[in-house]
Subunit: 328 residues, 2 copies
């Protein structure tokens, strides 16, 4: 029988509104913070037993409707023969920039993580990686840069080379997602964290066709697209052949549901910053979401971005309890 | 007789489409880079003769229709008894956070800079400072942070304190803008560089009323509002009582003109990253802008954000020459 999360992805009526949180396996869980004292990110990510353990950690506290692999957006780079470092506080950075043709060889650890999880989990498992624009931005800039000026210069100045690189990278991303599905993942998510830096015209010509090709190459799987600060791109994003579109807190949810909801399930979008307030305050925001999504099968409750470090677990718990009481 | 820039701000027909560039007095000018070897930012900003000299530097190369004070968004903090440092590469950072009541005492150097410039300049002079949200974000975060999580937490968790601080800061900003106008500035611009981090609801309740109050308190002056990555806020921004709204490259210009153009002049919005391409490529983008703004009195040509370091002066020169040939 289909689980609620899968039903909502397919816009079929779930029994309860499904809930999961981006970065649910992360820095707000005491057991995770303990592990991080002993192991580096690289050690955790490459160790299938530990990764699986971390993926399962939030389930000790939270009645979540989906799990997401503990991994990293940039892990896929290893398939292109590129390494990267996890920086302190500023996010990961990439030193190498020479792209080799994509190989699945380095990803045995991930296959094993998925296999362990499929035995343990009672809810669907989400696999993921970086969308092509965000991945290529990392390669060009080396790390997060406000508004990604070098990437934008590159797109305008070396547009042919850009197309070549996007082609190459998109091929690898499609392979990597297929591999995750074949290994047992029930849904596949592309994170386009930096897409919001681009104009509508550039996104539509230089990005959309590649991301779309990836989605088309994994038709039949459950496909999720998530981007940040990209309200200005929403008419283009609406064209993606994917089941679910995730939105951040910048997009008014009623607009997302009206606009994207005709052909997609919508996932989002409570501001993760509000989780540091008392629950009365949070409840007011939940009530708004409750009203807006009423009658919509294709709604998956999530935050507008990842859980922030230090978020009180108790608020997450109460949110799930509350959302699970909602009538569809 | 009114200059073209002023006419366009007031949506009266200018003789030529006026052009100026954000950060036109900056890091792409050889003479400026020379000065920076000898003086710190603090020394330059606090020295009225040197600041005036830098403000005038681009006019050696470029036939610009407006000048903008060489200063910094955070200089206003000195009026609140707060100091800040110019960081290397990462932008300025604020250590102090205790806000005193606003005083114009520290700004004699600015008055003098404006007086020198008014004697030298043949075009209107733009004064500016930070919009209240961006300024308060700096105080809360200390420096630029992706998506400003601490500021968002603060808004939700301490909303009463937020309103108090915004009230205090907005009062100072209004005083500071009046002071710049009284000293001789012809137009006043508020930079809301970080506004895009907020949801429409939060922006509308927690930010808009304060920025609007500032604009209303300087009615009769030429007022410009500029924000970045804020397309999702455009219906709210359209409510500002100001003459000009500046948009970044994310906003399609035809949309900005259709939507904002009914009650505002529109300023923008070529992506500054394109200036590193050859002029043929730039010309194609200019032609699009030329068509979109045809028939519009209230259009001021600018970039979608500041000139990037290392931008070829020659491309800036050619852009101005080209835009100045356009029929209104």
């Amino acid at each position: 029988m289909k689980k609620d999360f899968i039903k909502a992805c397919l816009r079929e009526k779930p029994d309860r509104v499904p809930v999961w949180f981006m970065r649910q396996a992360g820095r707000y869980i005491p057991e995770y913070l303990e592990l991080r004292k002993k192991y580096s990110m690289r050690e955790l990510v490459k160790n299938p037993e530990l990764s699986a353990k971390i993926t399962l950690m939030p389930f000790k506290y939270l009645d979540l409707d989906a799990a997401i692999l503990f991994s990293d957006l940039l892990v896929i780079l290893w398939g292109f023969g590129i390494d990267f470092e996890w920086g302190k506080g500023e996010g990961p950075f990439v030193k190498d920039k020479k792209i080799e043709s994509f190989s699945l060889m380095p990803f045995n650890f991930l296959k094993k993580e998925i296999e362990i999880l499929k035995k343990e989990l009672d809810v669907p498992l989400i696999g993921f990686t970086s969308a092509p624009f965000t991945l290529l931005s990392y390669l060009i800039e080396g790390r997060f840069q406000r508004d990604f000026p070098e990437t934008r210069k590159f797109i305008y100045k070396k547009s042919l080379e850009w197309h070549d690189l996007m082609e190459k990278i998109s091929h690898g991303i499609a392979e990597f997602l297929k591999f995750q599905a074949d290994s047992g993942c029930d849904a596949l998510m592309l994170f386009d964290s930096w897409a919001g830096a681009l104009s509508t015209e550039v996104y539509s010509k230089m990005i959309f066709p590649y991301t779309q090709k990836i989605f088309k190459s994994i038709e039949g799987k459950i496909r999720i697209y998530f981007s940040v600060a990209s309200t200005h791109l929403i008419t283009i994003i609406n064209g993606y052949s994917c089941e679910v579109i995730g939105v951040d807190w910048r997009v008014p949810l009623h607009f997302a549901i009206d606009f994207l909801g005709k052909e997609h399930a919508v996932q989002g979008n409570l501001d993760p910053a509000i989780l540091f307030s008392n629950f009365d305050m949070i409840k007011k925001e939940l009530d708004k979401i409750k009203d807006v999504r009423r009658g919509i099968n294709g709604f998956i409750f999530n935050l507008g971005h990842g859980i922030l470090p230090g978020t009180p677990i108790d608020n997450l718990k109460k949110i799930i309890q509350e959302v699970h009481t909602w009538q569809i």
